[in-house]
Symmetry: C2
Subunit: 334 residues, 2 copies
């Protein structure tokens, strides 16, 4: 059997996944620590996410898909902060060091790493239950980080399209959708395993935004995090939520929306924008390939910093005050 | 049951474990990313280590000991690079969210964090098999990082005292030492669960050192890493190895040495020093509370960048060319 060192070298370094030393990367893989330089006018942003087999993904999933999801959900945190991806570290725990599995895993990482120009700079590999921990590091200009605590009453709430496809994928994995067309299966698979970190959107719009977050726990829960940290509340206009067409097809608009509002894993961005910045925001957003839609507004805080949902007539139909939202694990009961 | 967010807040933030915002820490726990500034004349060093239950520690070990070991082995990587600890992130996977377990775990982290002034800045918590991943971030002055590739033939090889106590602890855990005195048990427990990261030694001696590494895989293996990356070989004088007195007591000098040379987990530093720098190195080392002893020298490279061991008469008694070294897992067979 290959040693730990051989495995790391063969599967990760030699597949072109390792960060190339340069202005920022002083030392990559192979020493006790990696070393990087951060320009004087920038901050280093970092985020760590762990994916556990049979909690966050099926253990039997294709290794390249596990890898792409693990890196994508981390890159999404950089997007939520408007940080440009720089390097990542990988803590990989695997039951056995299977060369084909590791090569496929590395290939999945490589594809995502190449797309976002974010390469491997170190980590650790252990034997044990399949678990993938990634920490991404990114650079953000001083003063331009998108944070959760900057939303103010009157700000508009925007999100990138669309909501619900990852939740639908979970239903499909559990065999609850019946017959699914091959092209639909691919769309849902990609939504779950290759969510698109909205780096480009965030970098283009950061200067016009008052607060933001990525949707990992669910739209209601994550907008709730903004409300809590910004000490305000929010009102969502349900008719404006960009529900994914497949969710609408399989569950219908109402049931699909109910599901999508509290389901995580979509990794779209929520961005809040002041009325004053909205024209510039919309002008910049109009140049992007991604669609960014207004779904509500930030309001004066109620006691619970709650998110209320209103229908087309403006009538409140639900509120997180009465309990909803939150993240649904893969092993969840529905 | 507490939600993920409640748990993190209660057990980690409110126990004084969270990094305080300041010149370096712009944002700590609670946003999508943590944000830090790195001074213009410094580099950020980082290292990630994963500890898996029943591989790297017994699953039933006291949570505060699991925590202290997890942070210590990471801080030791900063020591090996001569980086001053700054902040750490924690990826914790636990089978169930037990409040007492988490509080004890947080207390163990807090004690080590306080000692080394390195606080929590973010992370992720999941349900799953018990696994602890920590990434430490530290600051190192430009040009003063200790690396593995700077050793040159003629350099002396030094190490901090002492070797073998962690390996002896593993034998004790397996019941192979027979009756052990309570104070000996404590010494061995501490060697395994609270190894002392040699941060002070590294910061004091970095400017005189040509290369270095911490002993996590074993003295032979880790000196081998220096040889490989510095493209040289090394000769160890066995009579000079500072074998831990308890190892000598329980296994005898020869068997104890054989065991200790290939056992990991001691987290002492190996430092190489040129003859020209040796007087200043020794002067600085003499001011430290820790003992640093010369155990051999770097030699011209042989084909395998091997580490040879010689006895007092200078006779070669073993060599990594013939196979030895390496890391022994907790579940290992001896």
């Amino acid at each position: 059997m290959l040693s730990e060192f051989d495995i790391i070298r063969t599967c990760f370094e030699q597949q072109g996944l390792a960060a190339t030393p340069g202005d920022s990367v002083i030392r990559g893989i192979g020493d006790d620590c990696a070393l990087i330089k951060v320009p004087a006018n920038k901050m280093l942003a970092f985020s760590m996410d762990t994916l556990v087999a049979d909690i966050h993904f099926p253990a039997a999933a294709a290794p390249e898909l596990i890898a792409s999801r693990a890196l994508a959900v981390n890159l999404s945190d950089l997007a939520a902060t408007a940080a440009k991806p720089l390097v990542f570290t990988l803590g990989l725990t695997i039951p056995e060091a299977s060369q084909p599995w590791l090569e496929a895993f590395a290939a999945g990482l490589k594809a995502m790493a190449t797309e976002f120009n974010c390469y491997l700079i170190g980590g650790d590999m252990s034997r044990g239950p399949l678990t993938v921990t990634i920490q991404v590091q990114g650079l953000v200009d001083d003063g331009l980080a998108i944070l959760r605590d900057g939303a103010r009453p009157g700000d508009r709430v925007y999100m990138t399209e669309s909501l619900g496809c990852a939740a639908l994928a979970l239903l499909m994995f559990k065999g609850k959708l019946g017959n699914v067309l091959p092209q639909e299966r691919e769309i849902m698979n990609n939504a779950f395993y290759k969510p698109e970190p909205r780096i480009g959107v965030a970098l283009a719009l950061a200067r016009f935004v008052s607060a933001g977050i990525d949707i990992s726990d669910g739209l209601l829960a994550d907008l709730g995090h903004i409300c809590e940290q910004s000490k305000c509340s929010a009102r969502l206009n349900l008719s404006r939520i960009p529900l994914h067409p497949l969710m609408e097809k399989y569950l219908g608009r109402e049931a699909g929306l109910t599901k999508a509002l509290s389901a995580g894993d979509d990794y779209e961005l929520i961005l809040t924008v002041s009325a004053a910045n909205e024209p510039l925001f919309l002008e910049a957003a109009g140049m992007l390939p991604e669609k960014v839609v207004c779904i509500g507004e930030i309001t004066e805080p109620d006691a619970a910093h709650a998110v209320s949902c209103v229908d087309e007539s403006g009538k409140v139909v639900s509120s997180t005050l009465t309990g909803s939202g939150g993240y649904m694990h893969f092993q969840g009961d529905d």
